[in-house]
C-alpha cells in the first residue's frame, strides 16, 4: 500500500490557507492582549487584602479553568445576545471566550508572580510612604514581571492551540479553512498534514524560546509557573 502524496493543489490554494492563518493570528492577538489585561485585574484582585475581591477573583479563575474551552465558546455564542444584546457571531464569541479563558490562566500567573516578591519589598515600599497602588505599580510588578514572562509565553502557545476551537463555530480560521479545502479537494491527508506542520513549525520555536527564558529566569532566581 503506498499513497500517492500530492501537495501541488495546496500551493494553488495557498492564499485560502493564508487567509485562514491570518484569521487565526487576529483572533490570537486580540484574545492574548485582552486576556493579559483581564488577567492583570483579576490577578491583583486575588492578592488584595479584601476578602470579597479575593473571592470574586477566585470564582472567576476556578469557573473558567474548570470548564472545557469548547463549552465556554459555545455558551458565549448563544448567550451574548441575551447578556449584552448584540448580534452574535462566531468571531465575537471566540474573541470573548478566548479572552476570558486566557484571562483566567494569566490571573494565576500574575498572582504567583506577585506572591513571589518577598514581604520585605512591600514593607520597604510602605516604609517610604507609597500607596498600595504605587507599591504594586512601581515596586512589586516590575520585579515580578521578569519571572512571569516564560509562563506567559506558554500561555501564548496554549492560546494559539485554543484558537482552533473557533472552527467548531464555522469561523474561518486555519483549521476550518483546511477542513473546507480537504472536503472540496478530497485530499484530507495532505491538507491536515500541512496544517499540523504549520502549527508545529510556529509553536516549536516559541516553546524552545520559553524553555530558554525559563532557564535564564531560574538562574537569576525565582521560578514562576502557571
Amino acid at each position: 500500500m503506498s499513497y500517492a502524496w500530492d501537495f501541488n493543489f495546496l500551493w494553488a490554494l495557498g492564499p485560502l490557507l493564508l487567509g485562514g492563518l491570518i484569521n487565526t493570528g487576529k483572533l490570537w492577538a486580540i484574545a492574548f492582549s485582552s486576556g493579559l489585561a483581564i488577567g492583570l485585574a483579576f490577578g491583583i484582585m486575588r492578592t488584595v487584602p479584601s476578602r470579597i475581591l479575593r473571592g470574586i477573583g477566585m470564582v472567576y479563575v476556578e469557573a473558567i479553568r474548570n470548564t472545557p474551552g469548547l463549552i465556554l465558546l459555545i455558551w458565549f455564542y448563544y448567550a451574548l445576545p441575551i447578556l449584552v444584546g448584540v448580534q452574535s457571531s462566531a468571531w465575537l464569541a471566540a474573541c470573548v471566550a478566548l479572552s476570558l479563558y486566557t484571562g483566567a490562566y494569566s490571573a494565576e500567573i500574575y498572582r504567583a508572580g506577585i506572591a513571589s516578591v518577598e514581604a520585605g519589598q512591600w514593607e520597604a515600599a510602605r516604609a517610604i510612604g507609597l500607596s498600595y497602588a504605587h507599591q504594586m505599580r512601581y515596586i512589586v510588578l516590575p520585579q515580578a514581571v521578569m519571572r512571569m514572562i516564560p509562563a506567559f509565553g506558554n500561555r501564548a502557545i496554549e492560546l494559539a492551540k485554543a484558537t482552533t476551537l473557533a472552527s467548531t463555530l464555522a469561523f474561518g480560521e486555519l483549521l476550518f479553512t483546511a477542513k473546507v479545502i480537504a472536503e472540496d479537494q478530497f485530499r484530507p491527508l495532505e491538507t491536515f498534514t500541512a496544517v499540523s506542520v504549520i502549527f508545529t513549525a510556529v509553536l516549536l520555536p516559541l516553546s524552545y524560546a520559553c524553555i530558554w527564558l525559563e532557564r535564564r529566569v531560574a538562574r537569576s532566581g525565582g521560578i514562576v509557573r502557571d
Binding site: 479553568r65 476551537l165 499540523s196
Partner: protein, 222 residues
C-alpha cells in the same frame, strides 16, 4: 426584552446529557490507557539519554506537545484512514489523537519527575552495585511516581477537557449530545449552561483531589 430562562425542560434531557458525559469519561480513560505506557517509556528514554532512541523520543515529544488537539483529531479521523487504507471508528481515531498527545505531556512529566530525584539517590543506588534497571525500578521511579501523582491528575483534567472536542468528528460525547438536545428543544443557552455546570463540578472535584494528593505526597526530605 428579558430572556425567558427555562431550565426544567433541559433537565428532562439530563439522562441523555449524562450518557454523553459517560462517553467522555470512557474516551478519556481509553486515551490515558494508551498514553500511560508510551509516556513512561518515552520519558525514561529521554531522561536517561538512551543512545539512538533519545533523539527519536525528543522529536516525538516535541511534535505532539506543540500539536493542536483538534488538528490531531481531524488528522486521525479524516487523514489517517486514507494513509493506512483502513476505516477507523470515531472512537479509535479520537483515542489515538488524544492518547498520543497526552503521552507526550506525560513523557515530559516523567522526565521532570526523574530529574527531580537528587543525584545522591542515583549515586547511592549505584554505589550499592545496582544496574540501571534496578535503580529505576526500586529507587528512582517509586520516588518520582509520588511526586508525579498530583501533576498527573492535572493532566487527566486536561485530557477530559480535550475529549469534549470529539463531538467535532461526531463521537457522541457530552458536547455532541448537548448540541442534539439543544436543537431538539431550541434551548441552547440553558443546555450549555447545564453541561458547563456538570463539567465544572466534575473537573473542580478532580482538581481538589489533585490538591489533596499534592499535600499528602509532599515528600519530606531529610
Amino acid at each position: 426584552m428579558p430572556y425567558d430562562w427555562n431550565f426544567t425542560i433541559v433537565l428532562r434531557y439530563l439522562p441523555q446529557l449524562l450518557e454523553g458525559g459517560l462517553h467522555t469519561i470512557i474516551l478519556s480513560a481509553a486515551a490515558i490507557a494508551l498514553a500511560a505506557p508510551i509516556g513512561v517509556v518515552m520519558g525514561v528514554i529521554r531522561q536517561q539519554r538512551v543512545p539512538i532512541l533519545a533523539p527519536i523520543a525528543v522529536a516525538y515529544i516535541d511534535f505532539f506537545r506543540t500539536s493542536v488537539a483538534l488538528v490531531l483529531i481531524c488528522w486521525c479521523y479524516f487523514a489517517l484512514p486514507v494513509l493506512i487504507g483502513v476505516t477507523l471508528s470515531t472512537f479509535t481515531a479520537v483515542t489515538i489523537a488524544i492518547g498520543l498527545q497526552a503521552s507526550a505531556y506525560l513523557a515530559e512529566l516523567v522526565r521532570a519527575g526523574l530529574q527531580s530525584i537528587s543525584v545522591g539517590q542515583w549515586e547511592a543506588a549505584r554505589a550499592l552495585g545496582m544496574g540501571t534497571r534496578l535503580r529505576l525500578q526500586y529507587i528512582i521511579l517509586p520516588q518520582a511516581a509520588r511526586r508525579m501523582i498530583p501533576v498527573f491528575f492535572l493532566l487527566v483534567i486536561e485530557v477530559f477537557k480535550t475529549s469534549t472536542l470529539a463531538g467535532f468528528v461526531t463521537y457522541p460525547e457530552i458536547v455532541y449530545e448537548a448540541y442534539r438536545v439543544a436543537t431538539d428543544i431550541y434551548r441552547p443557552i440553558e443546555t450549555f449552561t447545564i453541561v458547563g455546570a456538570i463539567c465544572f463540578v466534575f473537573l473542580f472535584s478532580l482538581g481538589r483531589i489533585a490538591l489533596y494528593l499534592e499535600r499528602r505526597y509532599a515528600v519530606v526530605e531529610r
